[in-house]
C-alpha cells in the first residue's frame, strides 16, 4: 500500500523526460521513419539528385534483390551470406560458447588465476576499436605476425590470414573482441545459483558434466537466450571488421554493415543505402522483438 503517491508531479516528471524524448525522437525515431522514405528516392550527396531527389518507387529494392546477380561478389545476397557465417561463427559458436566455458570453469573459483583471465578478456572488450584493429593486423600479418610465428614454432606452414582466410580471420577476431559480454553475463548468472543446489547433486552422486547439464543449464536458460539474441544483434551490426580487412579482398569479407557503408558513404547513394538500411533494421527489429518477447514472458532482466 505504501509508495502510492508519486514524489514528482507528472508535470515535473514530464520536464525531466523532455530532453531524453527530444534526443530519442531526433536521433532514433525520426531516422527510423525517414530511412523508409529515403529508400524510395534516388537521393545522393552530390550531383543533381542531391538537390532534387525524386521518388523512384521500388527501384532501389529491385536492384538490391535482383536475384540474377545478388549472390555474386560485392552484392547484397553475398554480404548477407558472409554476415550469417560471421554471426554464427563469432557470436554463437565463438563468444557464447567460449564465454560460457570460461564462466563455468571459474565457477566457485576465486583468486589470481581468475582475475588474470577475466582482466585479459575484459581488456580485449574495452580497448578502442582502432587500437585492437592495429594489434590484430600485426597479429595476423603474413611475414612477421605473432600467429604465424607460433605456427612456425609448431612446424606448421604460415598462412596469409587476411588474404586467404578473411572470413575466418574476422570470426576469430570478433570472438576475441566480444567474449567478455557473454562471460560476464554467464558468470553473474552462475553467481545467483545457490551452492546448495550443486552440493545436493554431488551428494546424489552426479558427475561434473551431469551437474552442468541437469542443474546449471536449466537454471541459466533464460540468460543464454538473452545472451544469444543480444550478441547476435550486436555482431550483425558491428563495423569493426572493416578496420582489419576493409571488406576484402575482393568483397570476400564484406559484411552487410560494410556493404551498407560502401554504398552509402563511399558511393554516396543514399537511396540505395537507405534500402539496405531498411533491410538491416528489419532484421534488427525481428531480433529485438524476439528478445523483448522472451524477456516479457519470463520476466527476466539481465
Amino acid at each position: 500500500m505504501t509508495g502510492g503517491a508519486p514524489i514528482l508531479s507528472r508535470r515535473t516528471g514530464f520536464f525531466f523526460l523532455l530532453p531524453s524524448l527530444g534526443f530519442v525522437s531526433l536521433f532514433i525515431l525520426f531516422p527510423f521513419v525517414w530511412v523508409f522514405y529515403l529508400s524510395f528516392t534516388n537521393q545522393t550527396l552530390t550531383g543533381v539528385t542531391a538537390i532534387q531527389s525524386r521518388l523512384v518507387g521500388l527501384a532501389n529494392y529491385q536492384r538490391l534483390l535482383d536475384f540474377e546477380t545478388w549472390m555474386t561478389s560485392g552484392q547484397f545476397g553475398n554480404a548477407l551470406r558472409i554476415s550469417a557465417q560471421f554471426v554464427v561463427g563469432s557470436a554463437l559458436i565463438g563468444q557464447a560458447l567460449l564465454g560460457l566455458a570460461i564462466a563455468w570453469a571459474f565457477y566457485r573459483w576465486r583468486g589470481a588465476f581468475r582475475e588474470i583471465v577475466y582482466t585479459l578478456v575484459i581488456l580485449a572488450w574495452i580497448i578502442p576499436d582502432v587500437v585492437v584493429a592495429f594489434t590484430w593486423m600485426a597479429f595476423l600479418d603474413r611475414d612477421r605476425g605473432t600467429l604465424n610465428a607460433i605456427l612456425q614454432l609448431l612446424r606448421l606452414a604460415p598462412v596469409d590470414w587476411l588474404i586467404q582466410q578473411p572470413v575466418l580471420s574476422i570470426i576469430i577476431f570478433n570472438t576475441w573482441r566480444g567474449t567478455a559480454f557473454s562471460m560476464l553475463l554467464f558468470s553473474s548468472a552462475l553467481a545467483t545459483i545457490p551452492p546448495s543446489y550443486l552440493e545436493s547433486a554431488e551428494v546424489a552422486g552426479a558427475s561434473g558434466w551431469q551437474k552442468f547439464r541437469d542443474i546449471i543449464l536449466p537454471l541459466i536458460r533464460s540468460h543464454i537466450l538473452t545472451d544469444i539474441i543480444l550478441i547476435t544483434l550486436w555482431t550483425f551490426n558491428t563495423f569493426t571488421p572493416f578496420l582489419i580487412t576493409g571488406g576484402g579482398p575482393a568483397f570476400k569479407s564484406e559484411l552487410v554493415s560494410i556493404y551498407t557503408f560502401r554504398i552509402a558513404f563511399q558511393f554516396f547513394e543514399f537511396g540505395r543505402g537507405g534500402a539496405i538500411a531498411v533491410a538491416m533494421m528489419l532484421i534488427n527489429l525481428v531480433l529485438a522483438l524476439t528478445y523483448l518477447t522472451i524477456l516479457r514472458r519470463q520476466g527476466v532482466r539481465t
Binding site: M1, G4, A5
Partner: protein
C-alpha cells in the same frame, strides 16, 4: 501540539480504495494507534496526515488549520519510517540535524540542539558515525531523534519497531511510551501488532479494508470488540468465536451449539430485543474467561484437548469442540491435570454475542 481531524477522507489508487471515507478526531497530546492487517489502509491514512498523499476526497486538519492541499513541509509534522530512512551519506549529526538545517538554523545551534536530543536518546557518542555503522536499535533511536529535534506539532510513526528483533522491540516500546509522555506531542502510530497498539496507545483505531471499524481505549477495544473482525484481531490468543443458534422463548433463552446448550435466561430480555428466535449467532468469549469444570456445571461445554502450550506465567490449552477450536488461558501456568475428554465452563458475565454478519449485539 495540536489535534488532528480527518473529515470524510477517501484515497483511491486507480480502482483500489485504500482509505474509504474515514473520519477521525485525534485529541491534542494523545498517543493514537492505527491498527490493522497489512493493506488495510492504515499507512495510507498516516501518509495523508503527513502530506505524502493527497486525499481523493475529504479534508485534513492539523490544529486549527486545514492542511488538505499543503505539502509536508508546511504541516510541521515529523515522521519515523519503517526503514528509518537515515541518509547513508550523512553522519548521524547531519541526519538528526537535517530538519533544522532546512529551516535555516545555524550550524552552531544545530550542534547544540542535536546534542541535547542525542543525550536524551542516548546516542550522543554516535553523532560522528554513519547510519551503516549503527545497530538496529541505535538506528531506530537516531530516526526518532530526527523526528523530535525540531519539536513538531505532530509525530507520525510508520511501524517503527517492525525491523527490530523481539527483545529490542519490547525495550523500544517502553522507551517510545516514556518519550511521548515526556514530550506530550500528539502522536499517530501505525502498527499491525495488536500487542504494540494495546501497550502504547491512549486510543486505538482498528482498520480493515480502508474503513475504521472501531475506535476506543485499549481496554474498550479489548473488552468490547464491536465486530468479530476486531475480536479476532485483538488479543493473543484471540477471542474464541463459536457459531451457534439462539433459542428465545417467552421466559427462557439458550445458546445452542452442536454439543452444548448454554442457559442465558438472565439475558433473555436484552437478547429478545435485537435477535429473533432461532437466529444464527456467534458466541464470543476470551480465553481467560474459560475454566475447566465438571460435567454438572450449567455453563459447561464438552471438549477434547488438542494441544497444551505452557508459557511460563500462563498456560494456553487448545481444545476441539466439534469442528471449531477453543483456546483456554490458565493463569496459574500449570497445565490441566486431565487431558482427553474435558469440560470447560463459560463465565456468563463475560459472554459476547455477535450477529452472524459480525456486529456485536450483546456484551
Amino acid at each position: 501540539m495540536a489535534r488532528i481531524m480527518l473529515e470524510n477522507v477517501t484515497r483511491r489508487f486507480g480502482l483500489v480504495i485504500a482509505v474509504d471515507n474515514v473520519s477521525l478526531p485525534i485529541i491534542d497530546g494523545e498517543f493514537f494507534a492505527l491498527l490493522g492487517p497489512s493493506g488495510c489502509g492504515k499507512t495510507t491514512t498516516l501518509r495523508l496526515i503527513a502530506g505524502l498523499e493527497v486525499p481523493t476526497a475529504g479534508r485534513v486538519h492539523i490544529g486549527d488549520r486545514d492542511v488538505t492541499g499543503l505539502p509536508p513541509r508546511e504541516r510541521d509534522v515529523a515522521m519515523v519510517f519503517q526503514d528509518y530512512a537515515l541518509y547513508p551519506h550523512m553522519t548521524i549529526l547531519d541526519n538528526v540535524g537535517y530538519p533544522l538545517k532546512v529551516r535555516g538554523v545555524g550550524r552552531r545551534e544545530i550542534r547544540e540542539r542535536v546534542g541535547e536530543v542525542a543525550g536524551f536518546l542516548q546516542i550522543a557518542e554516535l553523532l560522528e558515525r554513519r547510519p551503516a555503522q549503527l545497530s538496529g536499535g541505535q538506528q531506530q533511536r537516531a530516526a526518532v531523534a530526527r523526528a523530535v529535534v525540531h519539536k513538531p506539532q505532530v509525530f507520525l510513526f510508520d511501524e517503527p519497531l517492525s525491523n527490530l528483533d523481539a527483545k529490542l522491540r519490547l525495550e523500544a516500546r517502553g522507551f517510545l511510551k516514556h518519550l511521548q509522555h515526556e514530550l506530550g506531542i500528539t502522536t499517530v502510530y501505525v502498527t499491525h501488532d495488536q500487542a504494540e497498539a494495546l501497550a502504547l496507545a491512549d486510543r486505538i483505531a482498528i482498520m480493515n479494508q480502508g474503513r475504521i471499524i472501531q475506535v476506543g481505549t485499549p481496554l474498550e477495544v479489548y473488552r468490547r470488540p464491536q465486530t468479530t473482525f476486531v475480536a479476532g484481531f485483538i488479543g493473543n490468543p484471540p477471542m474464541n468465536l463459536v457459531p451457534c443458534r439462539l433459542e428465545v422463548g417467552v421466559e427462557a433463552a439458550h445458546l445452542v451449539g452442536t454439543t452444548f446448550r448454554l442457559d442465558l435466561t438472565s439475558l433473555r430480555d436484552r437478547l429478545a430485543l435485537t435477535l429473533r428466535d432461532d437466529e444464527e449467532v456467534i458466541l464470543g468469549i476470551r480465553p481467560e474467561h474459560l475454566t475447566f469444570c465438571g460435567q454438572g456445571d450449567p455453563f459447561a461445554i464438552p471438549a477434547e484437548t488438542y494441544a497444551i502450550q505452557p508459557l511460563g506465567a500462563e498456560c494456553v490449552v487448545i481444545l476441539l469442540v466439534d469442528s471449531t477450536t477453543l483456546s483456554v488461558r490458565l493463569f496459574t501456568g500449570e497445565p490441566p491435570q486431565q487431558t482427553g475428554r474435558v469440560w470447560v465452563g463459560v463465565n456468563p458475565e463475560r459472554i459476547l454475542v455477535y450477529r452472524k454478519s459480525g456486529e456485536l449485539v450483546l456484551g
